[in-house]
């Protein structure tokens, strides 16, 4: 018995010693990958880098889903039927939007979701044991994308919370716009140093970020910062790289035939057949017959009337009723009036649609095949022209401006004659007009007007208030959740 007792006591003590083994308390979640188990390999690194791109195909990446930037500009109206999304999207057309306006929170959250995904790559991929060259490219892609997401944030809201880690503090204040711009510049310079040129990519890699895309974006960023010297420098580097050219046909610049083509510098791939369509084009697609989408972003009479006589780009930008595209007759929407008049009987809107998002087909599924172009070569040429003019090199500026016009005239020498103006102010204004016609309905116009200081003159009559509408309001839900830590933009 004594023996039994001593054995049981010893057993008990042994048990205590054994039990403190910590392994027993390490239980991994079942059926799930977590921060401890992903990403850990070269193939994981690719998956996690791809995910940083995937936010671009998120519908909300496109200014919260609806093309509010064009709707806020003089180029277009809300679109769709008169009452569709009237309380939610209508106010953007009239500059009566509030801090709780639909879509602001979605856009904000989605841009930051993209930023988090880039931060995951930047933080985790460098420590993965893998081919170092590939690794550097993945990390550089993430830097490029982070700059792209922040560029939208800083243009839309100004100084925003600066997040460069996957584990930021929960409570953050807004950084200054300068701090955001400086991160964007840093990120893009890193990307330029490490990304391949487009010509170095395989066919399968088309759509991934390139050195040219990073330089183009950086040139544009400097334009917004009014640093024309650097804007000129990077735009010319892109032009002189001979990596890009204009599509012979203007409509190919945004159309299906030009996808990942010679003019495309950075675009968002979408393919319904592959299971990854894009709702960007569906939102703006022809409403009614053929049924291509919801018909938002209706080109304005102002845009229509601003084109120079016989500019073929007018027809390539606006789909009118009765038009036949790729063999499909456009009839439009039955519940949308063909013409809308104001109280005085003036025609203010005609039913028409954005042709830039057109893809061949007669259903919504094919419409979702459209690839949104983020930066194309014509944009870079016009950035170069604008920067050179600002840097007092009008003759050089004219070269690039006229390259854009030359392509636009499609061989018809009687239209869109070469511009020879060298007066800085007049030329600047001509370049801005050229941007409007070349890049219409691609989301540039509103920001072009704001950054060139023309917004009050052009948009003032539409409701734009100086000192307020240069920036969007921080979503009210963000301010509420932060319990007031985030401060609202002026005058909202």
């Amino acid at each position: 018995m004594r023996k039994f007792i001593s054995i049981s006591i010893m057993g008990f003590i042994l048990l205590l010693a054994l039990g403190s083994c910590e392994d027993f308390l390490e239980k991994n979640p079942q059926g799930q990958l977590t921060q401890n188990t992903f990403p850990v390999s070269e193939s994981d690194a690719l998956l996690v880098t791809n995910a940083a791109y995937a936010s671009l195909r998120n519908w909300h990446y496109n200014s919260g889903g609806f093309p509010i930037l064009d709707i806020m500009s003089d180029d277009s109206h809300k679109g769709s039927t008169p009452n569709d999304a009237l309380p939610t999207i209508g106010p953007y057309d009239l500059f009566t939007f509030s801090t709780t306006q639909d879509g602001l929170d979605r856009w904000w959250a989605t841009l930051y979701e993209g930023i988090k995904r880039t931060n995951v790559v930047i933080e985790k991929v460098p420590s993965i044991s893998m081919n170092t060259e590939t690794r550097d490219i993945y990390v550089a892609e993430a830097h490029f994308l982070r700059a792209l997401y922040y560029f939208d944030l800083v243009r839309a809201w100004g100084g925003v919370p600066l997040v460069t880690s996957t584990k930021p503090a929960v409570k953050l204040e807004r950084s200054s716009a300068e701090e955001i711009y400086s991160l964007i510049e840093e990120d893009l310079k890193f990307a330029i140093a490490n990304l391949p040129e487009k010509s170095e990519q395989t066919q399968a890699e088309k759509g991934r970020a390139t050195k040219g895309a990073a330089k183009s974006l950086l040139a544009k960023v400097y334009l917004f910062e009014h640093d024309f010297v650097n804007a000129e420098k990077y735009a010319l580097e892109v032009i002189n790289s001979s990596e890009y050219d204009l599509e012979a046909n203007f409509s190919a610049a945004n159309g299906q035939v030009g996808e990942f083509g010679i003019e495309s510098i950075f675009e968002v791939g979408a393919s319904t057949n592959e299971g990854g369509g894009g709702q960007y084009a569906n939102t703006q697609g022809v409403r009614g017959s053929p049924n291509r989408g919801w018909g938002f972003n209706r080109p304005s009479l102002s845009l229509r009337n601003s084109f120079e006589a016989n500019d073929p780009r007018l027809d390539a930008t606006i789909i009118d009723l009765g038009e036949v595209l790729d063999g499909i007759l456009i009839l439009g929407d039955g519940s949308t009036p063909d013409e809308i008049f104001d109280g005085l009987g003036n025609l203010i809107e005609v039913e028409c649609y954005n042709q830039k998002v057109w893809t061949p087909g007669d259903n919504t599924s094919t419409q979702e095949n459209h690839n949104r172009r983020i930066i194309r070569y014509a944009d870079v040429l016009l950035i170069a022209a604008e920067a050179l003019n600002e840097n007092n090199k009008p003759t050089d500026a004219l070269i690039y401006l006229n390259m854009v016009r030359e392509r636009a005239r499609e061989g018809n020498v009687s239209i869109l004659l070469d511009i020879t103006e060298t007066n800085k102010e007049i030329l600047a204004s001509l370049i801005l007009d050229e941007r409007r016609h070349e890049l219409a309905l691609e989301g540039h116009r509103y920001w072009d007007l704001v950054r060139t200081g023309k917004a009050s003159e052009v948009l003032g009559p539409l409701g734009f208030v100086v000192g307020k509408h240069e920036l969007l309001p921080i979503p009210q839900s963000e301010i509420d959740i932060s319990q007031g830590t985030l401060k609202q933009n002026p005058n909202y």
Binding site: F4, I5, K27, A54, T110, I115, K167, V170
Partner: protein
């Protein structure tokens, strides 16, 4: 009054052989009328050794020739007798009118009630079977202070929600159950008849032994053991009863519905008197039977004690296609291997089968009374927007079948007189199979077209889940008296692991409708050419996968029977938390003072017992979604390349919070126990429970990159519960008339102290979603958890002038509700929604009366609560024209016709969630009324029956409440959705009769 200081261990029957002058003492213990008393505890003074008398009152014990035996039994005065070398000692115990010191089961041990410093409510076995035999948990209602028991449904097999001392957290606020030492979340597998007692551990001193799991209270369930020496006792009890709908909801009949419809849409019905009427409630709710049988065999020998029970329960529901059937085997054995070593086991195995009816209560409530249930040809009639509940029931085949096995094996050794080591290994395993088959069927419109109630192809869902928890507990205890000091120590080490997995598959278009073919195999596809996938979905994953390691200790020190000090400590480590946050320590301290044992109290006969006690401690809650600490991945696509190709994109979804840690409740309790004139006993407690670091999911700033609308788990809320508990009992015996009256009540003050704090995350929690996106509870600082949230109403707009004079929604017109502009901004909008009530009762009470006279016994129990509100959720969601509750007849029909009931409408503005739908949830319920008769022993013994009792009883026969629904008991496991009546399965009233036989 002097009390003994010994702790009795009923289960110990073996004797520690030590000295050579040990003798065997035999004898009989009788009462004053010389009848043997069974179950008398006989202890050897100064040791933990003892035995119990058998059914005839006989006993046998090994004792030292000079030992003192202590004879004690509830209801009798304890006697001490010196053995003095006698081998036969017969004892006649005197019946005592005073309340004898009971033994209370506590965590990892037992303690005399007088030595208890914690707050523990005990419910004995006979009280558990009082409330029909359907559900043991239900029996706690109105029987224990500080305990709120709320039914979630009257469906057979439904488990009620239990809250001990308020609602302590936003997460799972249910207590844990300890059955024979095994830690469980519910006891639905147990037959009430196998339970000998339930102890509700409430304060920190009592619950801290369960550390991280004790914060919501602990209910210790002890099952029956064999204790009759050398004799087998056979017990049979049977009960048969009928359940029925206690109350119908006052809904409109066909004619009334026609009148109201005509007011909403004039001219709909030309002659309302000619309209048909269907009473859907009468068609759907039918009285339903249940029966329960239990037989048990128990006994003990020198070598062993055994209890073996089998029970069978079959309960039909008052709604067709709902039932519950359970077979339960209970086996408890103890074997005395050597003088100081015993081994044993507890085991319950319960196969069950439950059929679950679809929620037709909601459609019965909504169905228009004008519609016929059947067409002339006997086929089901269409019920627009709702579905014909009878067709729905007829085609429902939804089952849960499974098996639960809970048990343990243990070994216990005593050494050096005062020490006991015990090791037990237990498991809780279950296997559940869900099976839901719906045949193809169509309910047609009168014009012969298919209505929305159309299941084109038959479909089948099959799911199973398997759970296995094992628990290994090792304790060492020490019990010793030194003169006036008693030390009772227990220390231990435990390990536990829990694992579960589910698998589900659904398919459609099986080749046959009958049960033999309810399998999803390619062979049962009806016709592949019609392009219907047999397999619709597959799901597979894990619900629980975690492990724990715990260290525990408790010391109970008593000085001179007057001063008691208890300290407990438990340290839990759990895999649920990250390494750095893994361990939590949960201490408690308590003091007790038996004032009545002080010398200055000795002359006071009025007060027989007076004790003060106080406790403080910290306890935890681990019933949280622990996966919140991980960032898990999800995959999508990105398109690259010429030609365009999908590339898999994988990254983290919302971020995990690796800093998650234990929720901690700090509780203090002050209590007093008093017995006056041996008849009146009372126990009072004040408690204060503050839970901090509550783990909740809150909206986070978008810049954290979790995506729009995503919520993250944080330890970011605290909640306070305070209250008073009182239990007062009066017991008296007048010759053959014995009666007792017990009154108990508890108060609850529940308040959210903070959410989010100043941390940059959200500061409120929405809940109580109605199913159409609208939410009717909002928890925020200063309000109770899950406070109702909506517009306040202030009468009805009587005139156009009144409408113009007040801020109103553009939807409001004359005759509509006037919402209060709470923030005074001149606009009625979402910001005017405010706190409009709470589902947490402020006062819970019970009244228990028991009488027995000669062979008759009678019991009456009343329970109730007040101060809580119910949100009549079923009335609010009205996308389509549904039937109305009768109060629509109080409608506004012109200026000053009504200021409470707006003009009728089928939905819209007046059905915006507002205080119009808040009802008083207070109730008083006659829970039990029972009359029993025990046949004379002289008669029954002729048939070898020791005792035969028959009884009749009624449960829930009468409820006093203002609530218009079926029952004011509206529970939900989700604390943010509590008290919202979505049309629950009605709680039934029950008539039953039964018999108890002891052989």
């Amino acid at each position: 009054m002097k009390k003994t200081v010994f702790v009795f261990y009923f289960l110990l029957t073996s004797i520690f052989l030590f000295a050579q002058d040990q003798i065997i003492v035999k004898g009989k213990v009788t009462d004053e009328s010389n009848i043997g008393i069974p179950g008398v505890s006989i202890a050897i003074k100064g040791t933990a050794l003892g035995t119990i008398t058998d059914l005839n009152g006989d006993y046998e014990i090994n004792a030292l020739s000079n030992a003192t035996l202590v004879f004690s039994s509830i209801g009798f005065t304890t006697q001490e007798i010196l053995v003095n070398n006698r081998e036969n000692i017969d004892v006649a115990l005197l019946e005592s009118t005073e309340l004898v010191d009971e033994v209370v089961v506590i965590g990892y041990g037992k303690v005399k009630k007088s030595d208890l410093t914690g707050s523990v409510s005990s419910v004995k076995g006979e009280d558990i079977t009082k409330i029909s035999s359907l559900n043991a948990e239900q029996s706690l209602q109105g029987m224990a202070t500080g305990v709120q028991v709320t039914s979630t449904s009257g469906a057979p097999g439904a488990v009620p929600v239990i809250r001990i001392r308020g609602v302590g957290t936003f997460n799972n606020s249910s207590p844990i159950f300890i059955v024979d030492g095994i830690i469980l979340d519910d006891i639905s597998f147990l037959s009430s008849g196998d339970i000998s007692s339930m102890e509700v551990l409430k304060d920190a001193s009592a619950t801290a032994m369960y550390g991280s799991r004790g914060a919501n209270g602990v209910i210790i369930v002890s099952t029956k053991q064999g204790n009759t020496k050398d004799k087998v006792v056979i017990n049979y009890s049977g009960e048969y009863g009928t359940q029925f709908l206690a109350k119908k909801i006052d809904l409109l009949n066909g004619r009334e519905f026609g009148i109201i419809t005509n007011e909403i849409n004039p001219g709909t019905y030309s002659n309302v008197d000619a309209l048909p009427n269907t009473d859907w409630q009468d068609l759907v709710f039918k009285p339903a039977a249940f029966h329960n049988h239990q037989i048990s065999f128990s006994g003990s020998t020198e070598m062993s004690q055994f209890y073996f029970g089998v029970s069978y329960l079959k309960q039909d529901g008052i709604i067709d296609k709902s039932s519950y059937e359970r077979l339960s085997f209970k086996i408890n054995n103890t074997y005395n291997l050597f003088k100081n070593l015993k081994i044993g086991n507890h085991l319950t195995i319960s196969p069950y089968k439950q059929q679950i009816a679809p929620n037709v209560t909601y459609s019965v409530y909504r169905a228009q009374p004008l519609l016929p249930p059947y067409y002339a040809d006997g086929s089901y009639g269409v019920v627009y927007n709702v579905g014909n509940p009878l067709a729905n029931l007829a085609n429902s085949n939804n089952f849960n079948k499974g098996l639960r096995a809970v048990g343990n094996v243990f070994a216990e050794a005593e050494f050096l007189e005062a020490f006991t080591v015990k090791s037990s290994f237990g498991i809780d395993g279950s296997y559940n199979k869900a099976e839901n088959f719906t045949p193809a069927y169509t309910v047609y419109n009168p014009d012969g077209t298919a209505s929305q109630q159309n299941n084109e192809f038959n479909d089948l869902y099959k799911g199973n889940n398997q759970n296995l928890t094992w628990l290994w507990e090792n304790t060492i205890s020490y019990l010793k008296d030194f003169n006036k000091h008693t030390i009772d120590f227990v220390g231990g080490y435990t390990m536990q692991q829990s694992n579960s997995e589910y698998f589900g598959i659904s398919g459609e278009n099986l080749i046959r409708d009958y049960e033999d073919l309810w399998y999803i195999t390619p062979a049962s596809v009806y016709d592949p050419t019609i392009n219907v996938n047999t397999i619709q979905s597959i799901s597979n994953g894990v619900d629980q996968y975690y492990s724990m390691i715990s260290y525990l200790a408790r010391v109970n020190y008593t000085f001179d029977n007057r001063y008691i000090f208890t300290a407990t400590f438990r340290r839990d480590g759990s895999s649920k938390f990250a390494k750095e946050k893994r361990y939590g320590s949960f201490p408690s301290f308590a003091l007790g003072w038996n004032i009545s044992n002080e010398s200055f109290m000795q002359g006071i006969d009025l007060i027989n017992n007076l004790k003060l006690r106080a406790s403080w401690g910290k306890i935890g809650n681990d019933k949280v979604n622990y996966l919140g600490r991980f960032s898990t991945t999800s995959s999508g696509l990105t398109i690259f390349g010429i030609p365009e190709t999908a590339n898999i994109a994988t990254t983290y979804g919302k971020s995990g919070n690796p800093d998650l840690k234990w929720e901690t409740t700090t509780q203090y309790d002050i209590g007093m126990e008093i017995t006056i004139l041996n008849n009146l006993s009372a126990e009072f407690d004040y408690y204060n429970r503050k839970t901090e670091d509550i783990l909740i999911e809150l909206s986070t700033p978008g810049y954290l990159g979790n995506g729009q609308g995503q919520k993250i788990a944080f330890n970011a809320a605290s909640v306070l519960n305070t209250g008073l508990e009182a239990k007062i009992n009066w017991r008296q015996r007048i010759d053959e008339f014995n009666y007792s009256i017990g009154v108990l009540f508890s108060t609850v003050h529940n308040e959210v102290l903070s959410i989010g704090g100043n941390s940059g995350i959200d500061s409120l929690l929405q809940g109580g979603y109605l199913g159409d996106g609208r939410s009717v509870t909002q928890s925020r600082e200063g309000l109770p958890i899950g406070a109702f949230y909506g517009y306040k109403t202030d009468g009805i707009f009587q005139t156009q002038q009144e409408l113009d004079a007040y801020p109103h929604s553009s939807q409001a017109g004359i005759g509509d509700l006037r919402f209060v502009d709470v923030n005074n901004d001149g606009v009625i909008d979402g910001n005017d929604r405010t706190n409009i009530g709470s589902s947490i009762p402020k006062f819970i009470f019970g009244l228990n009366i028991g009488l027995d006279y000669k062979a008759f016994d009678f019991a009456l129990d009343i329970s109730g609560q007040s101060g809580n509100d119910i949100f009549n959720g079923k009335e609010v969601v009205r996308p389509d024209p549904y039937n109305f509750e009768k109060h629509v007849f109080d409608r506004w029909t012109g200026p000053n016709t009504s200021n409470t009931e707006p003009r009728p409408s089928f939905g819209g503005y007046n059905f915006t969630p507002s205080d119009r739908f808040i009802q008083d949830g207070s109730f008083v319920r006659l829970r039990t009324l029972m009359l029993g008769y025990t046949l004379p022993e002289q008669l029954t013994t002729k048939f070898h029956v020791q005792k035969l009792r028959i009884y009749a009883k009624g449960n829930n026969l009468f409820t006093l409440t203002k609530f218009t629904g079926y029952t004011p008991e509206i529970g939900s496991g989700d604390v943010l959705s509590n008290g919202i009546d979505f049309g629950i399965y009605p709680i039934t009233a029950i008539y039953s009769f039964g018999v108890n036989v002891t052989f």
